[in-house]
Amino acid sequence: MFDFWAYAFMQRAFFAGLIVAVLCPTIGVYLVLRRLSMVGEMFAHVSLAGVALGMFTRVYPLAMALGLSLVAAAILEVLRRSYRVFTDLAIAIMISAGISLAVIFISLSGSFNMDLFSYLFGSIIAIMPKDLMLIALVGVVVVILVLLLQKELFFIAFDEDAARAAGIPVDLVNAVFVAATALTIAVSMRVVGILLVSSLITVPVAAALQVGRSFRATVTFSYLFAILSVLCGLFLAYHVNLAPGGSIVLVSIIFFILAIICRKFTGTGVRWVAAKHISGGTEK
């Protein structure tokens, strides 16, 4: 059953998958709570433009995707500050820009080929050692940044005005977070593909919100659901010969449905267990 572990490409796939399984909820929990889930879609589309640009210029596509995503992050922050009330409009504009640039670069390079499909749908089993190194490097940087800014991100997600009034450098923290989001999406698309990457960012968090009774518990469950989704999805993909990216996201959706059922039918059951063992509190 575990004979896949003998293959180097499967080892790389699992390591890459685990890194992304940690990265996605690290960013996702704040995106979902701030109702910025569409930012994931935005960076996915911009990453596609970066990949297409990389194919057109024959520069390493993943690096191009990372670079263009960081540029998009900077533009988004400027637009958000200028049109604070219309954040969703700024995101919609960037999505349009991303996909239109992608279409143009794809048509210029004539690169409707297997390489492009591997970025669209994910190619975790085709991850090369240099891809894994880049994913690991980005993973370490993003997780460290978010851990260091965890309390600021929490306060901003809960009440941005109060955070600003308290003297927290909200604009700086937002800029760092958006850059971290851009990097996360760009490396995660190798695992689940551009079309599904925002699902891996949001669905495990959505499942965790059904069972978490505190912020700490919600974050913990997000990691749990994301890691289990990647492990089970890859396992399923190997043994049943399914697309890995789709399998991972489908498993995460199954966890989401199970979490809803748990919440609906067991009431405080699971949440009581969560509260007692994870958040350290006791139910009243």
């Binding site: 309390k151 809960f158 009440d159 600003r164 978490g212 009774r213 006791t282 139910e283």
Partner: protein
């Protein structure tokens, strides 16, 4: 005489061409309890947002603890409870403890994590507003009055010297309103906190506060509650339709 906590000099604010505040001048001494009243759209909340730095005045000077606003860095000396805090996302997965701990974010500084001392400060703040027993509950499952107290605890946890409250009793029932004003009295008398409160409830406010500022784009009155009622301020600010109803309880 001790330094004023807040000084406003010729403060004006415009949204585009529309004036919201015009030439506001007053000071708030340490230990005062100032009530700010005025009709809808009079600029009360805008004034509070200027004081806490969420908006920049179009002209004029604001000084906090003797320091010009632009150079003021000690924002942890100011606690702020915004208008309509009950309009937050009720499904946000935060416990009461996590909510109040957020009030220490700025004082901890970037990259630092809360420790035992911060957890004790949070418990002290929760105890001061009488919600310690709810510390492990999620914020969304509390009543409006309890949520209000939690947000006040969040503003108090950093031990501010000035507490600014914008319409703090909106959506709060009568019993909790009375408990709320008792809490403010304790904060002022026992903890020496200077208070500023915006409210629509002129009658209640003028019973509780030490000084009143009456605003309708301009400052029409700043003085004691007794003088507020003896002048024709209400007529000048609210217009001839304003009526005073006296209740005997």
């Amino acid at each position: 005489m001790s330094q004023p906590i807040l000084e406003l000099e010729h403060v004006s604010f415009h949204y585009g061409a529309r004036p919201v505040l015009e030439d506001i001048n007053f000071t708030v001494p340490a230990g005062d309890f100032l009530g700010i009243v005025g009709p809808n759209g009079s600029g009360k909340s805008t004034l509070l947002k200027i004081i806490v730095g969420l908006l920049r005045p179009s002209s004029g000077k604001v000084r906090l603890f003797g320091v010009d606003h632009d150079r003021f860095k000690e924002w942890t000396k100011i606690g702020y409870v915004a208008q309509n805090v009950a309009a937050f996302n009720h499904s946000f997965p935060a416990t009461v403890t996590e909510t109040v701990m957020a009030g220490l974010t700025a004082s901890l500084g970037l990259f630092n994590r809360p420790g035992k001392e911060e957890r004790m400060q949070v418990e002290e703040a929760l105890e001061s507003v009488d919600v310690l027993s709810l510390k492990n509950n999620t914020i969304g499952e509390l009543s409006g009055g309890q949520q209000q107290r939690v947000f006040i605890a969040r503003a108090l946890v950093s031990r501010p010297r000035l507490l600014i409250l914008d319409e703090p009793t909106v959506g709060v029932d009568m019993e909790n309103k009375e408990r709320f004003y008792e809490l403010l009295t304790v904060l002022r008398k026992q903890h020496g906190i200077t208070l500023m409160m915006v409210s629509h409830d002129i009658g209640v406010v003028t019973e509780q506060v030490q000084s009143v500022a009456c605003l309708n784009k301009k400052l029409y009155f700043h003085g004691t509650p007794g003088d507020f009622w003896s002048e024709d301020t209400l007529y000048r600010v609210y217009g001839p339709a304003a009526r005073v109803l006296h209740h005997s309880h």
